[in-house]
């Protein structure tokens, strides 16, 4: 018993070591393996946001009176907008929209000041570009609030009875985008990289014919496959640590919950994704296919159905059901709960179980397929 | 260097360096038209590097060469029109059929449709591959692939055909058949420049050269070499020359 176990260990060790050589020697791939998550975190942290800023706004002032000028100044002063004045007409507005040069336009009616002063209703026309729905809503909101501020400042009559809401943001008091997306980026990047790397690397051996050499060796096929995945497990683990470190030190999003819990569940997630990669490799024959299936086939569903970019409750029922089989959906919940809300295992036991179950399932099915091929 | 049309390949002090490492060191040789010239050497001696320079795949660091009448520095693309090549790695498209491969490579050399049709039929008949016509090249056994590759390499009647270790991995009978093809090509006037490891194949060549550590250690007919080194077989000639080599399998 002793000898067979140690020879097994030796076998495994030599296989794993060979795999490490493969991976570590490909500098370009390594660069991207680590560069990708870093770039993504940085992108989401510093570049991408839903904030409205510097949106180009055009003002058509048909009144050209004191009041209209005052209100226009307010828009010019606002950091949300970059304001331009055109004294022309609607046709010009249309051209400006069609050239993609503006996001919104405001039209002052000619009797603006007069109506204001005489307590008549006056209409301000706001035209917003509806092709970017998110922005349209927000832009409208900002325009409205600027206008209402103007009104309440200029109008000495305040509404006598008011309900005043005081708003408090939970978990994310400064309303940073980061807590929102760090879990998402983790889920997405880890899944993609693990699935992609494993599937391609296994299929590569199939294509080059070296797989047969492995199969002919006294090593159990299951172990051969596992040893292929092992280096990626370690690399992804490193990646995980890098993302967490970036999040804590660069983006100021601390890990509120237990960091060991986070890391262990993340490792489970990584293993599940590696199993998925193995499953894909048993079903594809060329590297190209494996790549396409992993990337284009997995990329979109992960991005869309994991709940990270779009809320799952809003989706049609069919999609909601499908989202249940996307591993990153469950992982995303776990990370959010543990990292951002500081929850403990009690809150995430169900998701963890599901994730583990998926991993097991992928692995068992791929082993079966593999054995069939051999027989 | 003046081009002499009785030679297909003229090389003088041809050198290739990669940084500090001199892979090919001032080799000088002339290959006659229609000759079967064997280019031998241990692994790492510089054979493949030398051949790549002669094919126009790699620019020499120093020295001169004229291949099929063209200057190796200035007329590289012209060289390519006049030569054929069969690589070690085996380069027909595995996902195309025999005919499709022929059409492709022939077409690149500017052969006309009718010419190609005739030639490909002749090729298939000669190799006895009538039953495999519809199959993808990837599904053929190694020996047939090699013979095919050679036939495709000479399809456009080049002046020289370069063969890089063409008979690796097949049984002796198939190798013999391959060499029959080489003889036919030489009889038709094509110069054959072949690198090989198999020393019995050296006996089939008109002349051979043996490279050791980047230089040509010997260049003559097999008979003369055996006399010179006073040995019975090419194996022994090779052994005498190569055993002091720094680069190789020793």
């Amino acid at each position: 018993m002793q000898t067979s176990f140690s020879s097994l260990k030796n076998q495994l060790f030599s296989f794993v070591r060979k795999e490490f050589y493969h991976v570590l020697r490909d500098k370009k791939v390594l660069l991207i393996l680590f560069g990708l998550p870093v770039v993504q975190v940085l992108l989401f942290g510093f570049v991408l946001s839903n904030e409205v800023k510097d949106s180009r706004l055009v003002i058509v002032d048909m009144a050209k009176d004191e009041a209209s000028r005052q209100l226009t100044n307010k828009f010019e002063a606002s950091r949300y907008f970059e304001t331009d004045l055109i004294s022309a007409n609607e046709a010009d507005i249309e051209v400006a929209f069609r050239r993609g040069k503006i996001k919104a336009a405001i039209v002052f009616p000619s009797n603006f000041q007069y109506d204001l002063q005489h307590g008549n209703k006056t209409q301000l026309q706001i035209i917003t570009d509806g092709t970017d729905v998110n922005q349209a809503n927000t832009i409208n909101g900002y325009i409205s609030s600027i206008v209402y501020n103007f009104v309440s400042e200029s109008n000495q009559q305040t509404v006598p009875y008011r309900v005043v809401p005081e708003i408090r943001m939970l978990y994310n008091p400064q309303l940073q985008g980061a807590p929102n997306f760090v879990p998402g980026v983790m889920a997405m990047v880890l899944m993609l990289v693990c699935v992609l790397m494993t599937s391609v690397s296994i299929v590569r051996e199939k294509e080059l014919g070296t797989m047969e050499v492995l199969l002919v060796s006294p090593m159990q096929p299951a172990l051969a496959i596992i040893s292929k995945a092992l280096p990626y497990l370690l690399l992804s683990f490193l990646n995980l640590l890098i993302i967490i470190a970036l999040s804590v030190y660069v983006l100021d999003v601390p890990v509120k919950g237990n960091i060991f819990l986070l890391i262990s569940v993340s490792t489970l997630f990584i293993v599940t994704c590696l199993s998925l990669g193995i499953l894909i490799s048993t079903n594809t024959n060329t590297q190209q296919e494996a790549m396409f299936v992993s990337l284009i086939g997995m990329l979109m569903p992960t991005m869309l159905l994991s709940g990270f970019m779009f809320p799952i409750e809003n989706m049609p029922l069919a999609l909601q059901i499908i989202s249940n089989i996307v591993p990153s959906r469950w992982y995303y919940i776990i990370v959010k709960d543990v990292m951002i809300k500081g929850a403990g295992f009690e809150s995430i036991w169900m998701e963890t179980l599901i994730l583990g179950g998926m991993g097991l399932f992928f692995f068992v099915v791929s082993m079966k397929k593999f054995k069939i091929r051999l027989a | 260097m003046t081009a002499d049309s009785s030679f297909s390949i003229q090389a003088e002090k041809l050198t290739k360096k990669f940084g500090d490492f001199t892979a090919v060191n001032e080799i000088t040789m002339n290959v006659k038209r229609g000759e079967i010239f064997g280019f031998l050497g241990a692994n790492g001696a510089g054979k493949t590097t030398a051949m790549r320079m002669l094919c126009g795949l790699s620019t020499p660091t120093a020295g001169e060469a004229v291949i099929a009448g063209c200057n190796v520095y200035k007329e590289v693309e012209q060289i390519k029109k006049r030569i054929g090549y069969m690589s070690q790695k085996f380069s027909l498209y595995e996902d195309l059929t025999i005919v499709e491969n022929v059409e492709f490579f022939g077409g690149i050399y500017g052969m006309s449709r009718s010419d190609l049709k005739n030639k490909s039929e002749a090729l298939i008949t000669k190799l006895g591959l009538q039953n495999e016509v519809k199959k993808l090249v990837g599904s053929l056994p190694l020996g047939w692939k090699q013979k095919l590759s050679f036939s495709v390499a000479i399809l456009h009647q080049p002046e020289i055909v370069f063969l890089d270790e063409p008979t690796g991995g097949v049984d002796p009978i198939t190798r013999r058949q391959f060499w029959d093809l080489i003889y036919d090509a030489a009889d038709a006037g094509i110069t054959v420049f072949v690198t090989t490891h198999y020393l019995d194949e050296a006996e089939y060549c008109n002349r051979i050269s043996i490279m050791v550590d980047g230089s040509i250690a010997a260049l003559d007919t097999p008979t003369n070499l055996k006399k010179k080194f006073n040995t019975e077989s090419m194996d022994d000639v090779f052994y005498e020359l190569a055993r002091g080599a720094k680069r190789g399998d020793n």
Binding site: V147, P173 | Y109
Partner: protein
Amino acid sequence: MMSTLKVLLRKEFRQIFRNKAILAISFIIPIIQFLILPLAANYETKNINLAIVDHDRSSLSQKLLTQITGSGYFRLVDYSSSYQQAYHLIETDKSDLILEIPQGFERNLVRENIGKVFIAVNAINGTKAMVGGNYLNGIISETNKNILTEFMPGTNLNQGIELTTSYWFNPKLNYKIALIPGILAVLVTMVGGFLSALNIVKEKESGTIEQINVTPILKRDFILGKLIPFWILAMIVFTIGLALAYFVYDIVPQGNLLVLYSFIAVYLLAVLGFGLLISTFCNTQQEAMFLQFFFIMIFILMGGLFTSIDSMPEWAKVLAQFNPVNYMINVMRLVLLKGSGFRDILPDFAVVIIMAIVLNGWAVFNYKKTS
């Protein structure tokens, strides 16, 4: 020369059609995603979960609550007097917002003219909860008007400015219309980019590229032979996408299709050129795939589809100028949704032409038959 190209193209097409797997993947996967994505991509907020903690239980608080629940945006998940209870619901993601009405709400309003309420927003779930918070805010302001009427009849509510909003090009603010042109652009970019990047590298890996290098084939013809088939494939995928957009999502192109197609033609050349360029730097398919993925991911994220370019910091805006996907998404929106014409997209066109020339030129330059 022309015939060499023809020979090359024949070979490429034969190889492509024989590769059933890749064909299937290049068409089926994008199409499926094209159909699914817009269904998933829905930022619309409805059914916002609201937990109410009412310490006052006065007629005024009731009035406020009726107004809120009557708006249709919210789903009342709890009504109690315990903040703890409500907070627990947020912790377990069963509620997005808490509205807490303090004791003495009505009394304070009548006596001191101001009644405070507290809204707690689950700010992790970014969009949904914050929009919900905004809605609540809005409803409360509406309520203010109603309260006025009740307490001070005769007040002239018609003072002030009335805003009329119109949303051009997408009056109902339909998310699908907003996203689909961009999604199509992204999918076509991915298919074209990956196919072209992997192709040359495959020849490198199998060794057939040496055979090619030894022949008199011109570099230019070789590269063209790689470009053209994938260009055709990508155009087909694009056309299918457009057709789907029309039949499934009712997106009727507002502008001239000829303008759109001429732009796509050049854009695809740029994208394919980029893929080819990448493949000249790589020796294995794995490398090529990763490198390509790396860049495409960055391009897509920074392309202005999910987030707006205006909101980026200045240095990022400069980088965005070099992103081809940016121009494609822009033109897709302009022509499909706004009916822009050729002159409107001229600047984008010019940039993409330059990109196509530079990228392809660089690829040809890099590809050396003789090393």
